[in-house]
Symmetry: C2
Subunit: 372 residues, 2 copies
């Protein structure tokens, strides 16, 4: 089956990479950050704004969309990108992460996972075949293989078993795909263990997926461990396929992991933190609720060109936050997403200019000056 | 004192009027609907969107802004229109309505009103002088006199006393104003009583306010009573000053009351109903939560040109509503505001063409066909 998906590695700078993905819904320049639209909307943000922000691809969560509105409903609406009027590339996870982290009373067998809905407690079952079927209903340009994501720390034996199960499930996921319009990525597991990560990378990359992801990081381990495992794992991943680090992370994480050769990221951090009043700036984090901003007419970040920073003061945003006004969540989500998307865009430019390490070090240095 | 405010009556069509208000922050074409920005933001909607929607003036609530962030804070940020980055005309109510309806344990004397904050129970006091002082701190282009708003039904004696008190408070409000950049409107009370309304109108219009409002309607009376009192009261209001019907109402209410000669309206209905999933369309109301919309790819209103109707299906909006997604509240608020603002814009066009009654009757007829 000829898949309607193409990745071109355009430029390398050390381990850092600039590339181009082509999907049925359009092109994606990497490295890229993918805003998370859990149930089919990036919370508070419109598709027109996502476009203006420079977003190129958004993520939907298979678990959430399966429960509500139901993947059959999404299918009848013409698939996710049409349903939510984004009309550009989308990616769905396999549902595995949510089943292991969010759902209740899951029971894992080699066949699949029994669990209960976090919404109404109803009994559900997910396995590689049903995950791919659901993802085909949702219709994203990129699907993810069904894997077992282990929380860290974990016993070596458990992680080793999960690597083998993830391999078996990856093969079943690969065989289950029937739609040539949807790319499918495999997921490498292996916890914080170098040998298991190498083994899983070799196993998963032996299957001709359209791209490869690093799963099971940012799940409880220390940041230096995450960086170490990420940089260790990318060396066993092929150069000619996109590399996706799932669920990561802070702006600093993105910069470091781009230097290890990662092309794609997703994380709820910019939007979730925005709703909680935690903002990202070129000088580090800023808590909008602080009393010291009450009379401030400064923007969140004087260096930022987003709509929020061009029009609103910290004083006004603090007021909206304290008063629980939804517009505040929205304006702050817009800013944080702009910050993330601009960061990866600048990273791409730096790679193309062959100055990525300089860019990364200067950006990290400035981010450490804010003091919050 | 020469007030920086001008009203020009441009055209009449029966009792219906088209006019132009000029304020320090810009011009306003009447009839106009004013979106409500209670604590300084029209809930979920950005100033850029309000502009695109055709909003010309927004309202802020003195009571809410006094409590949070504090009118002194708004003043230090340069006034409401600068604080919230709207930068166009604004209007503040007197705080009276909220004191009587929202605050706890109020005690009314001729001096003013003692009440407790609905936020923290702290003891507060508001009278004509302090209301005007607070409104001058907030800095809206149009301020409202401090009045007593009586819920209906009410005893004749109580309403008669409140008319006299409202007159005394109106004179004190007028005398308290010291800023020539802010217009001040008086408010006519009198409940559902023709004689008291006439008396109050004669009393209030004897004070040279920059405009006059009808208060104390849409406070519990039947709709025909509201229409009757509105049309009765406008005949005692001068032609050369703007007329504002406070806190009203449905699209039907606006159309009827424009025919009685009202120029200005405000109401939380379009935004509050939007957040609750109740939408206004050319064929009447639509409840987005209904199961029948699950697979609908129709927009809210096929005749509507708003961003929401141009891009999103009832099926998607229903999903966002069921999932509690903030984007749904936002897209629906945008639609309802567009509906209201387009309605009054069309009303103005019809008045200018001398066909208002035909426009009103046809629009009301079509609104009655939806059947919800």
């Amino acid at each position: 089956m000829k898949i309607d998906f193409k990745f071109t590695l355009e430029k390398t700078d050390g381990q850092a990479r600039a590339g181009l993905m082509e999907t049925p819904h359009g092109k994606i320049e990497t490295p890229i950050f993918m805003p998370v639209g859990t149930v089919g909307s990036v919370k508070t943000i419109s598709p027109a704004e996502l476009n203006d922000l420079g977003a190129q691809i958004i993520l939907g969560n298979t678990y959430h969309l399966h429960l509500r509105p139901g993947d059959d409903v999404v299918a009848k609406h013409g698939g996710l990108a049409k349903f939510n009027s984004w009309n550009r590339p989308t990616l769905t996870d396999s549902g595995g992460f949510q089943v292991f982290s969010l759902a209740k009373m899951n029971k894992i067998t080699d066949e699949g996972v029994h669990f209960r809905s976090h919404l109404d407690g109803s009994k559900l079952f997910l396995n590689p075949e049903s995950s791919i079927q659901i993802q085909q209903n949702i219709g994203a340009d990129i699907m993810m293989a069904f894997d077992e994501c282990v929380s860290l720390p974990a016993e070596h034996k458990y992680v080793a078993d999960s690597v083998e199960r993830t391999f078996r499930w990856a093969k079943r996921s690969y065989d289950a795909r029937t739609n040539e319009k949807q790319a499918l990525f495999g997921i490498i597991q292996g916890g914080a263990d170098h040998e298991l990560r190498k083994l899983s990378a070799q196993q998963i990359t032996s299957i001709p997926f359209d791209g490869y992801a690093i799963g099971g990081l940012s799940v409880g381990e220390e940041i230096p461990v995450m960086y170490d495992i990420c940089s260790h794992t990318t060396q066993f991943m092929p150069n000619d396929k996109p590399r996706y680090l799932m669920g990561v992370g802070t702006p600093q994480d993105l910069l470091h992991c781009i230097s290890y050769g990662v092309d794609m990221f997703d994380c709820v951090m910019p939007t979730r933190n925005a709703r909680n009043g935690l903002l990202f700036t070129s000088k580090g984090k800023l808590h909008i609720k602080r009393k010291e901003w009450q009379l401030s007419d400064e923007p969140i970040d004087a260096k930022c060109d987003c709509y929020t920073c061009k029009n609103f003061s910290r004083g006004y945003l603090r007021h909206l936050f304290k008063a629980g006004e939804l517009l505040g969540m929205r304006l702050q989500s817009l800013h944080n997403l702009y910050f993330y998307l601009s960061l990866v865009k600048s990273a791409r430019n730096a790679i193309n200019l062959g100055v990525y390490n300089k860019y990364m070090n200067e950006t990290l240095e400035e981010m450490s000056t804010g003091g919050e």
